[in-house]
Structure formats: C-alpha cells, structure tokens
C-alpha cells in the first residue's frame, strides 16, 4: 500500500482530531497529517500551499459545524481552487440533519473531487476504506 503524502483533518473538536490521528497512525498510511480548527484556517493554508507549488493533502477529513467557517463554506471555496487531480474529501459529522446530506449531494455534482459522507463516530475500519488517494 502506497503511503499518502499528506492528510488534512479540519475539525474544531480536539477529541475528534485526536481520534482520527490515532486511527490513521495505527493504519500507518501517511507520515504527514495536519489538522485545522476551522475551515478558514484550512483554506488559507491550502491557498498558500498552492502559491508555493506544494502538494495539497490527498485526503481531507472535514467537519461541518465549526465556528468562523464551517464545512460547507470551506467546500464552497475549495472547489474553486486550481487543483487538477482528484482529492478525497471525507465529510465527518454527527449531524443527522437531512439538509446536510442534501448539501453533500449538491457539492458532489459541482466538483471533480471525491466527496464522501460519514456520521461520527467513525470506525477504524471505515477510516481504512476512505483513506485512499483518489
């Protein structure tokens, strides 16, 4: 299994970030895991990555309910970034609001990136499935 160059976790809940990081580390899929507490931090960082011609994380774990910039606002900006190859974005939320699922469907149609939707808590097995470069 080829390792993933880098993975981003965007979530304001430190426990969730901890949990994902822990699971990823046991799976040993990537050496390079970064986390952001809201969408704005992440998008700002991604923009600078692109500016520096560095690599955008191949897999992103994205929470929806976050202060300042939530998951959907992040996606809105992300899909406009000039990223030619497919990025795997895993939405990870504890929301059971159907509106959120509808939003997911909507964004799927608008981008070439792969977007997945999972409810918390996430199992290690699921992490393994969804942590593959697109």
């Amino acid at each position: 299994m080829t390792k993933i160059k880098s993975i981003a976790i965007i979530d304001d809940d430190p426990i969730t970030v901890f949990g994902i990081k822990r699971m990823l580390s046991t799976l040993n899929v990537s050496e390079n895991i970064n986390s952001y507490v809201n969408g704005k931090e992440a998008i700002d960082d991604f923009k600078s990555i692109i500016k520096n011609n560095e690599e955008i994380p191949e897999v992103i774990f994205l929470d929806i309910n976050m202060p300042i910039m939530d998951g959907w606002q992040f996606l809105e900006e992300f899909i406009t970034l000039p990223i030619a190859h497919k990025i795997r974005i895993n939405i990870l939320t504890s929301s059971i609001d159907p509106a959120d699922r509808e939003n997911w469907q909507y964004y799927m149609t608008r981008t070439h990136h792969i977007i997945d939707y999972k409810n918390k808590p996430i199992q290690k097995k699921e992490i393994e499935e969804i942590t593959k470069a697109a």
């Binding site: 969730t16 202060p67 300042i68 504890s94 929301s95 808590p121």
Partner: protein
Amino acid sequence: MENRITLVRNYGRMLRETRTPSYDYLIKQLPISTVFVDKKFKIIHASDKWITDFDFAKRAVLGKSLFELFEDISKSWKKDLNAVLKGKARLTGIENFYDTQKNEKWFEWVNVPWYDEKENIIGVIIQTKDISDTIFDDIKLEKLEILLRDKSEISKIGSWEYDAVQDKLSWCKITKRIHELPEDFEPDIESSINFYKEGYNRNTIAMAVDRAMTKGIAWNETLQLITAKGKEISVLAAGKPVFKNEKFLGLIGTFKDITDEVLNKARTEEQERIFSSIFNSSYQFTGILDTEGTFLEVNDTALQFSDLKQEDIINKKFWDAYWWPIPDMVKEGLKQVVAAAAQGEFMRSEIVVLDKNKQPIPVDFSLKPIYNEDDKVVSLLAEGRMIKEMVEARQKLKISERKFRSLYELSPIAYILSDFDTGEILDFNSSFETATAYSKEDMANLKFADIIPDSSKHKLINFLEEVDSKGTYGPFEHMFTKKNGTTYPVLISGSLVGNKKGRKLLWSTAQDISEVKKKEKQIREEKKLLKTLIDNLPLNVYIKDLESRKILVNKSELIYCGLKEESEVIGKSDNDFYDEKSALISREEDLDVINSLNPILGKETISVKKDGSLTKFLTSKIPLIGPDGKANGLIGISMDISDLKQQEQELRDLINVTSIQNKQLINFAHIVSHNLRSHTANFSMLLEFLVEEKDANEQENIVRMLTEASDNLLETLDNLNEVVAISTNVNLDKKPVNLNEKIAAAEQNLAAYLKKNNAKIINNIPDDTSINVIPAYIDSILMNFITNAVKYKDDSRDPVIKLTVSKNEKYTIFSIEDNGLGIDLNKYGEKLFGMYKTFHDNSDARGIGLYITKNQIEAMNGKIMACSEVGKGTTFNIYFNDKN
C-alpha cells in the same frame, strides 16, 4: 272677276296699239261679251257673245246708241259710264232688263276707259256677264229665308246663309239669340265654327262645312257649343251647299237649340236606367202581376234565385212558378191571395220558397195592389224579401238569451235589479239568494238600502249620485247585509238601464270577496312574516332591477348602506354607496347574471364604500327570471365575512408562526442531536482507545479527554435546559418595567467587568421609558448584549456602548450600538442568531448567547435585527411588542 278685268284692260292696250279695222273680227270672236262705245255711247265694236247675250242678233247694233238699245237702262249706269269717260279707271255693277221675250235678265258689268294711242279716252269698253240664273237663286234663297224666319219664330229654329260669291255669312236673329249675341253681330265662317265646343264638336262641324263646300254633302248634326256668354248648349245644326250649274254659290242652313230636349232625353234615360237597376238588382224578389195573377214582369234577382229565364215566368201564372215547395197544396192558397190582392187587400206573410238548389229559404212575402188614376186595381206588386239571416239571428238571439239566463242564474256573482228611484228590488239571481239567504218571497218588501249595513249607508248616497251623473257606478268594495243581519264584503258595480215605460232600473252586480279579503290578509301576514324573516337574517338581502337599482333591501342591507328608511335606498344603485371601482365591479357582476341567467354563488368580494371603509362579503347574485324567460332583476345575498377573513388571516399568521417555530424546533432537535452525538461519539471512540491502550500515560491522557468530553456534555445539557426553559415558560406573564432601572441593574452587576475592560455605557433612554416584558428575560437580554459588546471589542479602542430607544405603532425599539469588531453579515447573517454559531476566535465564545437572547425576545412576541460593519461595530435593534 279680277281675271276678267285684267283681260279687259289688256284688250284695251292691245287695241290702243293696233287700231285697225282689220281687228274688228277679233273683237267679234271674244269669248266674253264685250262692247266698245264711243264718247257718245254709240256702239263701235261688239263681240258676238255680247250680241247673243243681249238678244241683238236680229238687230243691227253697230253705230247705235247704248241708250237706244237699252231703253230702260238705269240712270245710275249712265252716270257710271260718264264717270269712266272722265277717267275713272274701272267701275262695276249689276243691272237688269227685260229681253224681247220680256224675260227678266240680270247682268253684271265692268266698265273701263277706251284709250287711243295718245292715252286719250275715246270711249268705254263694257264687259258684261249674264247672271240672271244666280240672281234667281238668290231670290229663291231670300224667299226660303223669309219662310224659315217665319217658321223659326215659332219653332226657335234659326237660319243662316253663306254667300260664297261675296264670302258673306249672315245669321238670322234667332241664330244670334241662340249664340247669345247682339243682333248687330256680324259672323264669319271661322268665328261661327269657333263657337262649337273644342274637340269632337268643332272638328265635326269644320269637316261637315268642308265636305259641303268641296263635295256638296249636306249635314245634320247634334252638337254642343258654347254661347258668347259661356253657356253650354246642344244644337241641331243642319246645312247644305247651294250650287248653280255645278258652281258653288254658298251654304244655307238651320240652327236649333235642342238643349232642353237633350236634357230631357238624358233624364228619361237615367230614370229608366235607375228603375231598371233597382228593379233588377234589388235584393228582394219583385214581380208585377196582372189582376188575374199572370206575370207581367219579374226582376233578375228572382230569376237568378231560381235559375230561370224571363220566358219561364212571363205570361205564366204566379202559382205555377217553380219556387213553390209543394205546388198542389199552396196553389189554392196562392190563388186566394192573388184574388184578395186584386180586391185591393195588401197581403203579407212569411213563407218558404225553394232556391235553384231546392233549398228551402224563408221569405217575407207581400202582394200589393197597384191602383190606376181611377182607383182601380190594375196590377199587383209581388215582393219577396229573403229573411234567412233574420231567422238565423232570431235563433241566435234565443240561444244567447238562454245563455244569459243560465249565466245569470249560475253566476257566482250576485245580480240585483232594482228601481233606481224607489230602491225597490225587482229581481235577483240565485247567487244573491245563496249569499244573503234572502229568497224570492222576501223580494216584495226588500229595498236596496236594506242590504247595505247602517254603518256604510253614507256611501250609498255617494254611489247613487255617481249613478245619477254617469249612469254607472263602481266597481268598489262595499259591505252587504245578509238576511240574518251579518255583513260580508262585496265588490259592487252597476249601471242604469231604462225600461220601455221610462222607469229607471239599476242593474247591480256584487261579487262576494270574503275569500279574497281573507286571502289578502293571509298574503299580508305572509308578506310580513317574510319581511320579518329577511329583515332579521344576518345577511344583506336586496333585489335589484335591470339597471342595478335597488328595489328592495332588508334591514341588514339598510344598515350597511348607512340609512334608516328603506325608501332612502330604493332606486339607488351601487354608484351611490360604493367607490367607483367597487361599483363598476358590482355592475359587471349584475350584468353577467342578468345576461347569462347563471347565478353567482358564494363569491368572495371586497366592497369599498364611499367613506373608504372596506367590507369583505360572501356574495350570491341570483337572476329573477320573468315569465318571458328573461331576467327582470336579481336577488343579491351578501354575508359580511370581514371578521371571518380577519380570523382566517390571524389563523394563517398563527400557522406561519407555528410552522416557523416547528422549523426552529426541528432545527433545535438537530442541534441537540448533533451536540449529544458528537459527545457520545467521542465517548465511544475514546473508550475504544482506552480498552486497547496499554501505555499508562496514554491511558491517562485518554481518561483526561473522557473527563473533558463529559464536562462538555454537561455544559451542552445545561445550555439545552436553558433554551428549553425559555420555550416552555411561555406562560410567564409580561409586565411593564422601567427600562432604565433594568439597565442600571445590569450595569451594576457588570460593573467590575466593564471597569476591567475600560468600557463605557452611554444611555440616551428617557427615564420614563416603560416596556412590556418578562422581567427575567430582560435581565438576561441586557446582560448578554452588554457582555457581547465588550467581549467582541476592537482591541484598538475602548468599548463604547450606546443605548437608545424609539417607538413605532406596535413596538418599542431598543437599540444597542457598540464600537466593537463588527460581523460580516453577508457571510454570517443567516447564522448570527443560530445555536453554537461563533464568528470570532475568542476562546470563550460559546455560540449560545445570541441564540438564547433571540428565543427570549421571540417568546415575548418581539423580534431582533442586527446591522454591522466589520471594524466599526454592531447595532442590535430589539423590538419589544407593546401589546402582548
């Protein structure tokens, strides 16, 4: 005559030029008798004709004196001859003499001078013509004239004559008198023809005269002419030409006024014609018999009636005629009738005769004796008048009389015949008996006044006067008294009839109208009931005519129109009550209903009255369809549904509120579920880690995180409690509180926090500002906003919080303005008041404050709005509902 003279003159010239004896023989042979005499009247030359004419054949005339030859020549002639010698150019005359046989001779002469070549008169040339025959004719005429004149005086026959030789027309006195002309009138042919009536008469006479002159045909015509005085008369004009030796000498004629005869003749003809037409075209059969009963005459009517000819009847006996139905039986009777009439009796009876189709026809027959001057019956006039129609009419009369009788007796209307002057009742029908219980036996003592109740006797006088002046009375309503003294209402009328004896009779009819009255009362009551019903309906009811004018309204409609009396509304249309637009719409609806005959049922309408007030109606308009199948108006029924609509709107608002609240609740539920799930998810994940973890340090770390998660869960639950409390405490009472007192309290509580942050509150709120709120909520709200204003301050400046208040119709608006960081409302506007929404990096932002505040404000029926500019500050406007 002129020709002759010319000829003579030529001879004269010729002789003047060639005066030689050798011409003597020429003169001798002249065709006209001519003689040349010298100055001493000695005959120089003489034509043979002259010698013959004057019978001088046996005498030598040449060289002899004229006076020697004509011894008894008149002196006037001698004088004439001398005059010619003296140069008179020409002289003519007529002379007579007696020849050798003592015959009277007449000659006409022309004398001209005899010139020599030097123009000297050397003698006279005498030319003569024997006119003895003409003269004798003239005399004859004269004699005839005298004869006629004598006769004409008696028979009024005028005469006239025309002398063609002299072209002279002469009329006798009578002729002039017939023409109504004076005696000195001198006629000529043309003027006398012009007296005849233009056209046929004038043409006839002109042609007759012409024919007489040219062809010698006499005439005798009855013609009309117009006299000089313009009278039109008829004349018998006769005339005949007079010829002598085939020479036309003139016309003679007679002239007779026959106007009277013509008129008499015309009159007689007319009378005959009239008699004949009366006789023949008379509608009745007429015949004249002799006293023996033989037909002398019978008219066409009688012949046509029986399809006979004159010869079938004339000279036959009266009783043998075709038309008697049973000849043998009537024959004897007829003979007797004829005999009686011949004795001078006038016979008349109704009999039946047969027409040409053998149909019996009733006839009024009479036989009348006709007397002569000596009072003797000379003939009998038989007349028959067809009386079929009369007989039929009599029959009809009988039937109609029977009809009238049965009508009279069976009629439900009472008939009363009374003496107008005495009031006595003379007759009444059974209907009257039934109604009043009076019987015919009572009639003798019954007077008209008896059947009128005392209470209304005064009316009786009125109608008696009416009868007297107009001959009729009524119909009007009155009361009648029955035999038992009770009364009943009647509709009476009547008219005066005179009988043969000059008695004034009054026919009265009386219709019992008790039932009618009862019905009327019933209808009145029903009407009243209906009126009460529609007046008390909680509906506006009206009836409109085709022009949309109201012709009936109920009380509700009356009140709606703002009027008191129905009469004020009647005849008015929607234009009088509604504004232009509403009236127009209403009129269009009316027209639609009237034209289509389809009712409008339960249509929601909005009517705006002239004063601007608006009413919502549930309107029905139903066409009133007349007997012709067309609408003659409409019934309108309107229900005021303004209140209902208001309630409906409120209900709808409520539904909106609840649906919003429902949405919020679902949203809340999602939030709660999300928050609870995120914590439990963490628990589950951490516990899984803990079970697997061998490293003690790491285990401790996980346990620490579990504790942290537990704390977060508790906090979440606290927050949820707080929110649920607001939502469940809807029954907390609102009360008026002084806003400034509450602000002061909050300031007090936050004094340390404000001081620490160098914050300043500028309160511009009037001290008397009171708001209607739940006191606990206003405390929380004030704390929250003031805290937020400081919490999200701009580090570059000290926080300043401005508090102001304003009012509108429904709300007291409390504004909190800060100079903090501000929020990008374009980005976060939707989420500003959402649960767990935070917008700044502050670690103590929980995203619950504004959510709770908003819930509290909404729980008090208020609302909140925000405006903000990043880097300048935020203003929250809180709308406190003043009412509830």
